[in-house]
Amino acid sequence: DAGVTQSPTHLIKTRGQQVTLRCSPKSGHDTVSWYQQALGQGPQFIFQYYEEEERQRGNFPDRFSGHQFPNYSSELNVNALLLGDSALYLCASSLEPSLTGELFFGEGSRLTVL
């Protein structure tokens, strides 16, 4: 049973560029949430996708956008990259409404903005 998979694992971009990160949820899960984890901090909720729609959003600017596909996989797009966008981007999947409250994380995509 495959867990949550993310790609790419590492990438380097320059300021002003755009980036797309991808996530495949755990088998059987229909909800994908994205988190940003800056160095030395806890993950911060970006947004959540369910039934191909953004269901909830954290305190992130519109430069952060996403998409969920019919197979439940998801993309995170960040436009006009800033140095402060350098972080580990984590995808987490769950089955909503959850009967167990469990959230499963991928290993993340580490973005470096130069």
């Binding site: 901090q41 806890g42 409404p97 959850s98």
Partner: protein, 113 residues
């Protein structure tokens, strides 16, 4: 506004000792309180979780203590082992929407042999 405050930031414990990490939350709507373990280069993994209808939950060497009136909860790691060395995060969410979790800033635990 940080809704989940975690302490200490770092912790060093001798092998066999007890590791204790504390968290406090503000939003009384939270009703699911998990702890995650994260190793370098990996994503967080659920370790143990509790709901506010119980005051304590134990799974092996890991115990969560929950104080609803104080809005605090803590993780106790008994008989700490070098393999427990990792970063631990507390979190809080609604039980049916763990996907939108609020995390603490993490505690880096080092267990010395």
């Amino acid at each position: 506004q940080q809704q989940v405050k975690q302490s200490p930031q770092s912790l060093i414990v001798q092998k066999g000792g007890i590791s204790i990490i504390n968290c406090a939350y503000e939003n009384t709507a939270f009703d699911y309180f998990p702890w995650y373990q994260q190793f370098p280069g990996k994503g967080p993994a659920l370790l143990i979780a509790i709901r506010p209808d119980v005051s304590e939950k134990k799974e092996g060497r890991f115990t969560i203590s929950f104080n609803k009136s104080a809005k605090q909860f803590s993780l106790h790691i008994m008989d700490s082992q070098p393999g427990d060395s990792a970063t631990y995060f507390c979190a809080a969410s609604g039980y049916t929407n763990a996907g939108k979790s609020t995390f603490g800033d993490g505690t880096t635990l080092t267990v010395k042999p």
